[in-house]
């Protein structure tokens, strides 16, 4: 058998079910793995070893009592923008260096209810704003395939932890690609669910109309098992209601015969790394060989997605981040008056990228610019969404690249925000349209992973997972693990 830290979630579940291993043993193995490699990978901001072992013991007792859920005793890592009661939640920001939530996010409550073991909190770009995890106030998470490269972002810690064998699965969040891009760059599987599929209650807001929590793991099957637990209506999230949760694992038939796959020509842009394009096209050929029907499609407004996103997301963020005023929680910088302290606190507590986006968003909403920027962006958002809904009248799934290149070097874009924004060009249209997207590993270039992005109809995660799972049944990219040397 493989080492415990190399098990997929499905394998770990089977080992626990058979009694080959206890949750305490599995948890100890992963804590040991974290201790061994995380000084190099730097994925974790907080490791809650005591809490995890206690949950693991409880899970083992629970298992002894009888039938159990799929995640019982499974250790998971959580992106540090998701509220965990009693466990520090920093959002990768100095602003929240000492913030300890007094409540659990809905997804955390559901994972606990299912008996999952929470190993700790994972690094990310500050308030999930970034594509490289370079904007964390705390540490630089590294790509386990090449420690000089970025892991992607903003869920860089969540992706690197899975790739490095520090957790079989993690939760990430995706506002413009923050699950899919790091999943692609770290060679793992990541699912951004439909907007409204998973409750956002307790997810520290970046851009409320775009944010979504999703699973990151080695396989589509693993993602399906996590999604099963975290998906579904939440009375505390008014945007998450009205969609019954199907049986995701049952949908994994391995059969994609007759599935209509659209390949959008606008996604194969100039400047794309040729090896990446080749890997994506090859992956699509594999699906064709499995019986899918592939056709080229057009999503004509794709080029506008970037400006639309970088107006809407910062505008919402400028309001969402207004609550960090040093009154009720978080950093407070000493000053002469309330307003003086307010401005000092916000000037000092936020990093450069967050400040830049707050400024951009504030500008886009301000008097005289609202119609030209914010409102216009919302109108073009309508056009982008229509492109997709019309495409889904002809096809069942859209297959596309996730990123134009493999992981870049740490520091490569550090003084050019726009170049960094262009990293998201293939992922952010989905957030604007509210659609689900699954990324599966599909090759390597320069020794670094490449990810195929599959895009689905709203609330049709099952078709995406079925497609990704079918692909993983005949390929082995997802089974490869970095040497970490």
């Amino acid at each position: 058998m493989a080492a415990l830290h190399e098990l997929t979630l499905v394998q770990a579940h089977e080992a626990l079910t058979r009694g080959d291993v206890t949750s305490v043993e599995l948890t100890q193995a992963l804590l040991a793995r974290i201790a061994a490699v995380d000084s190099r990978v730097q994925a974790f901001l907080t490791v809650d070893a005591d809490g995890a072992l206690e949950q693991a013991r409880a899970a083992d007792l629970q298992r002894a009592r009888g039938p159990s859920s799929a995640l019982l005793g499974i250790p998971l890592g959580i992106k540090d923008v998701i509220s965990t009661s009693g466990v520090r939640t920093t959002c990768g920001s100095n602003m929240l260096a000492t913030y300890v939530p007094v409540y659990d996010a809905t997804v955390i409550a559901r994972l606990k209810q299912a008996g999952a073991v929470l190993l700790g909190k994972l690094n990310c770009d500050e308030f999930a704003m970034g594509s490289s995890t370079e904007h964390s106030a705390y540490q630089q998470t590294r790509n386990p395939w090449n420690l000089e490269r970025v892991p992607g972002g903003s869920s860089g810690g969540s992706a690197a932890a899975v790739a490095a064998g520090e957790a079989p699965a993690t939760l990430g969040t995706d506002t413009g690609g923050s699950i899919r891009q790091p999943a692609a760059l770290c060679g793992i599987t990541g699912l951004k669910p439909t907007y409204g599929r998973v409750s956002r209650y307790g997810l520290v807001a970046f851009a409320s109309s775009l944010d979504q929590i999703g699973p990151m793991a080695r396989t589509a099957h693993d993602c399906a098992m996590v999604l099963q637990v975290i998906a579904g209506d939440d009375p505390q999230d008014a945007t998450c209601t009205g969609h019954p949760v199907p049986e995701y694992v049952a949908a994994l038939t391995g059969d994609v015969r007759g599935l209509r796959i659209g390949v959008p020509r606008e996604f194969f842009v100039a400047g794309m790394q040729p090896e990446v394009e080749a890997a994506i096209r090859h992956a699509i050929d594999v699906l064709r060989d499995q019986g899918a029907i592939v056709q080229e499609i057009s999503l004509p407004h794709t080029q506008y997605a970037l400006p639309v996103y970088y107006l809407i997301a910062p505008a919402e963020a400028s309001a969402n981040l207004a609550r960090y005023d040093g009154v009720r929680y978080g950093l407070r910088e000493p000053g002469e008056s309330y307003f003086d302290e307010l401005e000092r606190t916000r000037g000092a507590g936020f990093g450069a990228e967050v400040r830049r986006r707050i400024m951009l968003g504030t500008y886009a909403l301000s008097a005289g610019y609202y119609d030209a920027y914010y409102k216009r962006a919302q109108q073009v958002r309508t056009l982008i969404r229509r492109d997709y809904l019309e495409a889904f009248e002809q096809v069942d799934v859209i297959a596309a690249p996730t990123t134009p290149t493999v992981a870049f070097k740490i520091g490569a874009h550090s003084d050019d925000p726009l170049a960094m924004y262009l990293e998201d060009v293939c992922t952010l249209p989905l957030n604007l349209a509210g659609l689900p997207g699954l990324v599966v590993p599909c090759g390597f270039a320069e020794g670094l992973p490449i990810g195929l992005q599959l895009i689905g109809r709203p609330f049709d995660e099952q078709t995406l997972l079925r497609t990704g799972d079918a692909y993983q049944r005949v390929t082995d990219w997802h089974t490869r693990m970095p040497a970490l040397v």
């Binding site: 307790g202 008014a238 945007t239 981040l321």
Partner: protein, 483 residues
């Protein structure tokens, strides 16, 4: 030179719900210890999300209907962005382009007779927390009030005097309390008012510069603050000064308005649609349900009381001032009808005897009504109409019913208060009076017929008011003739 006054009021009214606008914390903040009615949502903790209170939306729409507004079908909650220590999220959830209710009106008694004051809009929003300033120069924040549902009711600039402003405010309060959407409690801040006022020389078309007076919390102060402010502006204009658009605060202690610190830069609230809350689409059927929920309003009921019950305008006004009193009266009238008792007589019992008793006991009618049930008003008048008791006994029985909570008829029976109209009891008392006053009897018989008045008085005293004077006179005349 004469000056024209233009006034518009913005009224903030707490919507009477159990829980807050976007979370399940209690909205009853007034007496709670600081920061005990708070949760992640109303404290603006990272990650929390708002879910609108259905009842608050319903009550706001009900208010719009009571104020003759059109209810908008497409409603958007917006974020109004600004920073203040009492504002937990750094934005207030409010409405901007699409208020819930638009284009209404309220009829008031204007300075020149009946007047219709236009309403621009009624929108919903959340309240902020409360600040207390400390002696050592800091401020303390309590978030119990944060997230409590409010309506902002904005009038057109149709008001032309401080008196009209007060009457408009009073009328609005009456309606809000009447339909049960607001407690009317101005001391606790459940109802508060900002006033916009400008003056201009008669004959000038353009309005003068608008001055806003913030946070006025009584009817009296609305009138006084506006009177002061109008005087101040007119004096300034007469002195050739310019009025600048500004915000002032009403200072109760000095009875003046005081300039508030002018902001260095114009506010820019950067309103945008709240992405956490799906739009509210209010269908015609939904609005019809709200309309069905709307009770008869005070003006309509006042009119009906005058035409159907033959009440004077004064009585009709008094009996439609408060919903509880008015409904009590309606119940009394309902009990009066089968008894053949006139609604007008019931009104007299209510506005006369009952109001006096309430004043003495310091109770509200709602409390006292536990004892003095509405049908008792009809019953006591019926006993009177049927000659069973005298007016004096009726009052006594009514007082007893008020105190003891028992039916007047029962009290009359138990205490033998029924009219002593004839028979042995009265005859005995008449004979006794004749026997006790031979001199008066002699005068009467000697032709001084008015002397009988004294004897009537003596008998009445003996019956303790339970006999009618006519019956006593009749019995006396009979006895005096017979002897």
């Amino acid at each position: 030179m004469d000056y024209l006054v233009t006034i518009g009021l913005e009224i903030h009214a707490q919507i009477q719900t159990r829980s807050k606008m976007f979370c399940g914390c209690s909205a009853d903040y007034a007496a709670a210890p600081p920061n005990t009615h708070v949760c992640p949502v109303c404290m603006g903790l990272p990650g929390s999300l708002p879910v609108p209170n259905r009842r608050a939306i319903e009550l706001a729409a009900l208010t719009g209907l009571a104020l003759n507004c059109r209810i908008a079908s497409d409603n958007v909650i917006s974020r109004k962005n600004y920073f203040y220590a009492d504002l937990p999220s750094g934005y207030q959830r409010s409405q901007y382009d699409d208020p819930l209710c638009v284009n209404g009106w309220v009829d008031i008694d204007g300075d020149q007779g009946p007047k219709r004051i236009g309403l621009t809009r009624v929108h919903i929003e959340e309240d902020t927390g409360k600040l207390t300033h400390t002696a050592d120069g800091g401020s303390l924040v309590d978030f119990n009030r944060a997230g409590v549902p409010l309506m902002e009711i904005v009038s057109e600039p149709d008001i032309t005097s401080p008196e009209e402003a007060r009457r408009y405010f009073q009328k609005l309060r009456q309606i809000l309390v009447w339909i049960g959407v607001n407690s009317g409690d101005m001391e606790s801040g459940a109802l508060r008012c900002d006033a916009n006022v400008s003056v201009r020389p008669a004959g000038q078309q353009a309005y003068g510069a608008k001055v806003e007076i913030k946070n006025i919390n009584s009817f009296r102060f609305v009138e006084r603050a506006l009177a002061y402010e109008i005087e101040r502006q007119v004096t300034s204009l007469r002195a050739g000064e310019r009025i600048v658009q500004s915000t002032r605060g009403w200072d109760e202690a000095t009875g003046t308005t005081v300039a508030q610190r002018t902001k260095e830069f114009a506010e820019d609230y950067r309103y945008f649609p709240e992405p956490d809350i799906p739009p509210l689409r209010l269908t015609e059927a939904w609005v019809a349900e709200r309309r069905a929920e709307l009770p008869e309003l005070p003006d309509a009921r006042r009119q009906r009381f005058m035409t159907d019950y033959d009440l004077t305008p004064y009585d009709a006004t008094v009996l439609t001032d408060e919903r509880a009193v008015s409904d009590y009266y309606e119940q009394a009238v309902a009990a009066a009808r089968p008894r053949g008792v006139a609604p007008k007589d019931v009104a007299n019992w209510l506005t006369g005897e009952l109001f006096r008793l309430l004043k003495d006991s310091g109770e509200t009618l709602v409390v006292a009504a536990q004892r003095i049930r509405p049908e008792y008003l009809a019953e006591v008048q019926e006993l009177l109409n049927n000659g069973v008791i005298t007016r004096t006994s009726a009052k006594e029985a009514f007082d007893a019913a008020f105190r003891e909570g028992r039916a007047p008829a029962q009290i009359v029976a138990e205490r033998g208060m029924a009219v002593i109209g004839a028979g042995d009891a009265l005859t005995d008392m008449v004979r006794q009076a004749i026997a006790d006053n031979p001199k008066v009897v002699e005068e009467y018989r000697g032709g001084k017929v008015t002397a009988i008045k004294y004897l009537i008085g003596q008998v009445m005293k003996a019956t303790r008011g339970q006999a009618s004077p006519q019956a006593v006179q009749q019995a006396l005349e009979q006895e005096l003739t017979r002897q």
